[in-house]
């Protein structure tokens, strides 16, 4: 009745290999004793050996030899964490003709020798864990990788510099790219910047050629003013629904002459591109070099859409491109891989109320300052106070606003030090004002960054190490009247300082996009607590995600500067092109599957899967799992009340046997129940 007690089919012949890891394991675990014991006490073990380094070629050859000579059909290696060497030993098994999934690994280094202080206790724990592994492996089944074809088309979401770079690399490589951007133009945050550190090249000068190329590449379909609605499918075969929002401008007719913008009577504060520091019209392109060149009508502010009259743009448009009746369109595209490069949001400095942003006129956010100092910005690049005319005589730049602060974000936003140094330089250059930089630590680790810092130091910018307590207009001392006073503890001098200045720039941190969690859900990837997308491995797989076929690049993964974002865009593109080049891919066969005969169609599992791998067939009243979509988490397996869903490589039998094994109950005298 109890299927768990079912016997393993056939003759199980297990080889156990216990690693010394030099002295890493052997100094705390009696490895020889463990190996001897495993050979004698554990069921099904026909060979049990120890070796100084199992991962060495000698160690691996030992396994291969035993498989061939002793006819082993299961292998257990007790050594380091499987996250280090599982692949190594699986390969060894495969070389000897044993299905790699008939191998299991037990961690007696990370979980035993490195965390214990008593040799006897550690040795016992090692035995228990190995017993668990041996009991489990008896139920391991041979598995074959899952092969799927890759559609060569690719979608890139986000038209900032990371997305543009990724799209260009892929398009140059010959695959077709759908580049989807939410705003009317590609360019992202980089298009808003004035200069780029540390070389101080003009941001627009280096970005616009790339934007132009992306806009005109034959392999790139540019979908601006568009958003992804829904993603279905799996690596190699995604189906994506994209909402192309109505521009109210017929792009086939529009020449991008800009007359409509000129004639539009409605002026609106531009909260996006101008960061609230400038104006745009109700029909607008965010900036003159916008790609594509077509404007959009902001229907919430357009006089015609709000009041029903005006139509100035339509009257003046020389090509009749204005189309007030245009509706949103839903496009469906098929792609094999997706790169997310959705960028970041700037930390809202209003949240740190003591810095006065939003209350004190001459406190500026970093993006505001970028626009202020940008030659194409609202002041034509003149650095002035909010009155629009006065040149500041003294400027304070506050680092780490909203970063490295337990009240807001604990992480370092990584770009703010260099950005602040750049601001200091620009202020000096444009105004000659005295500049104070308030920092916690200066972090300038990349190429030519620290040299830039030294250069700014030489420009006589004054650096005060300390977290600013407040920015206030409450004058206390002579000379403070009419100024903004920066109250700070100078931690190098051990003094409280009050520094009166004309202007304060807050070097605000980077935050995940406000909707990053919904986006992550839409694409079936995971997010950190803050909302940064999580890479597959923080070091060795930085642009892949847990979901096959979905890659991430740029600041959506975490704060980063332009060079890093570009590198990630290119890296993600390379990963995608690698897959496209293969044509097909084999997936790890750790999957759930439904035994249809036992499925009663109760539909408990139907909303268990965030990857939409489970479909219900009304006709047969059974649920089915698409193995290419399934990621193998096993949640539906444990939800299935009928036991109809099974987990390959993590079956109930395997886990139950492992429990019995680590509790070593088979080894004790088992009490048989009898009355």
């Amino acid at each position: 009745m109890n299927d768990n007690s079912q016997n393993v089919s056939g003759d199980v012949r297990i080889g156990v290999y216990v690693c010394h890891c030099g002295s890493n394991i052997a100094s705390m675990v009696d490895v020889e004793e463990v190996a001897r014991w495993a050979g004698e006490a554990l069921p099904g073990v026909v060979a049990s050996r120890d070796n100084n380094f199992m991962c060495s070629s000698l160690g691996q050859e030992m396994i291969e030899k035993d498989i061939k000579e002793l006819g082993l059909n299961r292998v257990v290696v007790a050594a380091c964490s499987p996250h280090l060497h599982e692949a190594t030993f699986r390969n060894a098994c495969q070389r000897a003709g044993l299905n790699p999934f008939l191998f299991d690994m037990v961690s007696i280094r990370e979980q035993v020798s490195w965390v214990n202080t008593d040799r006897a206790v550690a040795t016992e724990k090692a035995k228990a864990l190995i017993s668990g592994g041996v009991h489990r492996v008896a139920y391991n089944q041979p598995l074959e990788p899952i092969i799927v074809d890759i559609n060569p088309n690719v979608m890139v979401v986000g038209g900032g510099i990371a997305g543009i770079q990724a799209a260009l690399e892929i398009a140059d490589g010959g695959s077709h790219v759908y580049l989807v951007e939410r705003e009317p133009s590609i360019g992202g945050h980089m298009a808003q910047l004035d200069k780029t550190f540390p070389t101080l090249d003009c941001s627009a000068c280096i970005l616009t050629p790339k934007m132009f190329t992306a806009g005109n590449h034959r392999n790139i379909t540019l979908l601006t003013w568009s958003e992804v609605e829904k993603v279905d499918g799996f690596i190699g075969n995604f189906t994506v629904k994209i909402r192309k929002k109505a521009r109210k401008v017929d792009t086939d007719l529009c020449t991008g002459c800009g007359l409509c913008e000129e004639k539009c009577p409605k002026k609106v504060v531009d909260e996006v591109f101008e960061a609230g520091l400038g104006y745009r019209k109700a029909i607008y392109r965010p900036f003159p070099q916008a790609v594509p060149k077509f404007p959009v009508i902001d229907t919430e502010n357009c006089t015609f859409f709000q009041k029903g009259t005006c139509k100035a743009c339509q009257k003046f448009c020389p090509t009749g491109a204005i189309n007030f009746d245009q509706q949103d369109e839903i496009l469906t595209v098929n792609v094999g891989n997706i790169i997310l490069a959705t960028g970041y949001d700037l930390f809202d400095s209003r949240r740190i109320s003591q810095y006065g942003y939003g209350r004190l006129a001459n406190v500026f956010s970093s993006l505001e300052f970028e626009r202020l100092s940008n030659a194409a910005g609202p002041t034509g690049g003149k650095v002035v106070l909010r009155d629009g005319v006065t040149t500041p005589q003294s400027v304070a730049i506050i680092h780490c606003v909203g970063s490295r602060d337990t009240n807001y974000n604990k992480y370092c936003s990584s770009i703010c030090c260099m950005q602040s140094l750049k601001f200091a330089h620009v202020v000096k250059e444009r105004t000659g004002a005295q500049v104070y930089d308030f920092y916690i630590d200066i972090r300038t680790p990349a190429k030519a960054y620290d040299e830039f810092y030294q250069h700014v130091l030489e420009e006589n910018v004054l650096f005060v190490r300390g977290k600013v307590a407040e920015v206030t207009d409450a004058a206390r001392l002579p000379g403070e009247e009419g100024k903004l006073i920066v109250q700070v503890e100078d931690t190098l001098a051990g003094k409280q300082r009050r520094i009166p200045v004309d202007m304060v720039i807050l070097s605000a941190g980077l935050e995940p996009r406000a909707d990053s969690k919904e986006v992550a859900k839409k694409f079936g990837i995971s997010c950190s607590y803050e909302g940064w997308f999580i890479e597959r491995h923080p070091k060795l797989d930085p642009v892949a995600t847990m979901t096959d076929g979905i890659f991430i690049a740029g600041a959506c993964q975490g704060p980063k500067d332009i060079p890093a974002a570009v590198a990630q865009g290119a890296a993600a593109a390379a990963r995608v092109m690698g897959l496209v080049g293969q044509g097909q891919i084999s997936l790890e066969p750790v999957r759930a599957y439904v035994n249809e005969a036992q499925c009663s169609g109760c539909r408990i599992c139907n909303n268990m899967c965030p990857f939409n791998a489970i479909t219900f067939h009304e006709d047969r009243a059974v649920s089915e799992i698409n193995p290419a979509l399934c990621q193998g988490c096993g949640t539906c397996v444990s939800a299935c009340p009928a036991g109809a869903i099974r987990a390959s490589h993590f079956s109930d039998q395997q886990v139950m046997a492992q429990i019995e094994g680590i509790l070593m109950i088979d080894l004790k005298q088992r009490e048989l129940v009898n009355g």
Binding site: S81, P82, H83, S107, R109, E110, Q111, V112, W114, V115, N116, T117, D118, V121, A122, E124, K125, A128, L129, G132, K517, A520, K521, G524, I525, S526, C527, S528, Y529, I534, M546, V590, M608, P610, F611, Q631, G632, C633, G634, T635, V637, S638, A639, A647, F650, D652, V655, M656, Q658, I659, E660, I662, L663, I665, E671, V673, G675
Partner: protein
Amino acid sequence: MADNGFEPVIVGFTCNWCSYRAADSAGMARIKYAPNVRLIRLMCSGRLDPQFVLKALAEGADGVLISGCHPGDCHYVEQNYKTIRRYELLKKTLDALGIEEGRVKLVWASAAEGAILADQIDQMVAKIKSLGPLNWKARPARAPTGKGGQP
């Protein structure tokens, strides 16, 4: 309450992406913690079938640790919320079956939180030491051998 040499055995279920890696990080950082927990790797805490917990308790474990990624951080997007739901119901049922709260514990640990996992394990071991052995295997009452006495 007295620590009369009782060393509990705790079965720990870990998620492949967070808590198992947290155990890896604890090891790499050489953080020492109580040896009483023996970990089993699952792909996700969502794979944790209440049967596994009951099995472990029935087969002699004094406690069961369930661990996974922090809510919101699940590597499979949202599966650890299902773990929370199952854990809450399991707790209620175990309570009705006379198994003290604290013997089965849900703990979140990200891959970087080796120290947190180790600390949670230490706390749990201390708690279970104070609760004493569960000893389920010895409990299923046998038939009294002799006749006589109360029914």
